[in-house]
Structures are given as C-alpha cells and as structure tokens.
Amino acid sequence: MQDQERLSHRTQASPAGSAGVRPAPDTMLALQTEKLQTRARIMSLEEQLATNLAEQTALAGKVRQAEARGDELRSQLSVLEERRDSLEALEVAAIRLLGTRDQQEAIAILMEIVAALVGSEEMAIYEVDHGARRLKLAASFGVASPEVVPLGDGITGRVAATGTEYIAEAPAVQAGAATDEQISVCAPLMRQGVTAGVLTIYGLLPQKQRIDSKDLVIIHFIQQQAAGILFRQEQRA
C-alpha cells in the first residue's frame, strides 16, 4: 500500500505533459534499487534461516544422544545399586554367620538370615550321612519337615546326591507345607568339595515375588560357609 501511495505521489509530481502515466526515470531507479536491496535482504535471511535450521537439527541430534546417554547411565546406576544391595546383605550374613562357632547359634542365625534377608519363614537344614545314604533333619522352622530323607529322594535328596542347587522357576508362597512343590530353593552345604548338608527353603513370604540376584549371593555364601560351622564331624563317604 505504501509503495502504491509513493508511486502515485511520484506520478502526480512528475513533469506536466506526461499526464501522470509513466513514472519518472529516477523514481524507477529508486524502485529498482529498493527491489534489489529487498531481494538481497530476503536471500540473506533465507541463508540465516537455513543455518538456524541446520543448528536446530544438530542440537536435536545432541539432545537425543544426551538422552540416550542418560538412559545408559540410569541403567548402569540401577545395576550398581543392585550390586551394592547384594554386597550389603552379604556383609550382614557374613558378620552374623562367621561370628559364631556354636552349632545351635549358627542354626538360629541361618534361620534369621533366610527370614530377614531372603524372605522365607519356612526352611529346613539337613545333615548328609553318605555312609548310611540318607539325610537327617538338623533343624526346621515354620514347617514340619521329614526327619529322614533317603539320599537321592525328592528334590532335597537329589541336591544332596548331586551337589547341585535347585531354584524353583516360580517360587511358592509359604503355606506351612514341607512338600517338593513348596520348595523354592534347595542348596547343598559344601565342605571341602563334599556335600555335608542341605538347606531347603520352602514357600516365600507373600510380598516376595521371586528369588533374585541378591538372594543368590546370600545362598551361595551359605553354601560355602555354613557346613563348616553346622556339621563338625567328618562325613564318611
């Protein structure tokens, strides 16, 4: 609009005789100049915009990289926190179990460890008599476990015979029953490479969904250390 007004004004101001139809040459020149300047300005702005868009794209890429790095760090942190929790539980188990040489106290401590750190109040400890080919109940808590189990019989007997631990894929909830179906974990208690006993953990507390890595750290520690305190006499193979 302004340009048209300007053009009209210049046309009216042009010398008489031309009837205001053709703009004066200097006016045309000014218009051409202004057009060129405007075109140059547009090109400059378009260049700046292109540069800005490129910067945005680059920044967006960096943001995505930073987010991915953040996810990776969070994942590493989670793993380390889990490891720390395991080590703390292991330290507590070690302080407690290795702090006694008394068999009865060791049994009580084992029960505490399984209840407080693993999450079950149903367990049994068996001593293996390889000579008689049987397991004898040393202690039980929360369930009425069989007094004697033949070596190789059921989960407990097989763990004693093979020295291989058993972990249930879907642990049971504690129900006061000492059956194979209720066994969540059955771990051989080793002494000098020989299975001296077995720790059988039955149903888990309702709020405990599964046996996790922290539990396994504790159970493996018990496997390696408990037999030396619990069972003093040498086992006759």
């Binding site: 507590v92 188990a93 209840a115 407080a116 750190l117 999450g119 507390l205 405990k208």
Partner: protein
Amino acid sequence: MPKKVLLVDDSHTALLMEQMILNQRTKYDLVTAQNGLEAVEKSVSERPDLILMDVVMPQMDGFRACKEIRKNSSTKDIPIILVTTRGEPDFVEAGFNCGCNDYITKPLNANELVQVVQNYLED
C-alpha cells in the same frame, strides 16, 4: 543436630541390615532395642525422632509397644513405622489401630526403607 531413629527388632540380623542401610545412605543417629519393652523405655530415654518397629517380638510385641508409646505424653507424637513380614490387610489395619503411622514389609528394600524414613524426617 542429626535426627535420631530407634530401630526395634528381636532379630540381630534384621537390626544389622537396617543399620547398614541407614548408615550408608543417611546421616541419622541410630539406636536399637530388641523387644517391645525396651522400645518403650528407649522411646522415653532416647527421644527418637522416628521408630522402626518389628511386630513379632518376645516380652512385648510391636502392637502393644506402639500403644504404650502412644499413651505417654512425651512420646505420643513420635512417628512409628512397623517393619513386618506380615502384609495382610487385617494385620496392617491392626497396626494402624494401635497407632502406627506407616508400615513396610520384610525383606527390606533399601530404597523403600530410606524413602519412608526420609518422608517422616526430612522437612
């Protein structure tokens, strides 16, 4: 002055675990008791800012200890968090009826324990 937490449990293992978790992650002073009777006594003598209380204990269980602590005007306002293996709704309700403020279940999750404690102790 750091805040003080009274840990009550008849299981030495459970107490040790709670101490380890809180010592590693917080700066609270920690004192312990091994049954409900001792908990009531120490709630008066130690004036903790928070009590973590087991339920099944000899001499005096956690429910009764909670009631006793609530009866005493000098300790009635101390927040009490029950720490228990029992998470059934009726059990939890019994805990709240005795005057506890909150509860968490065993086995303890370190992050959960710290979060609950900080909820009551941090401004």
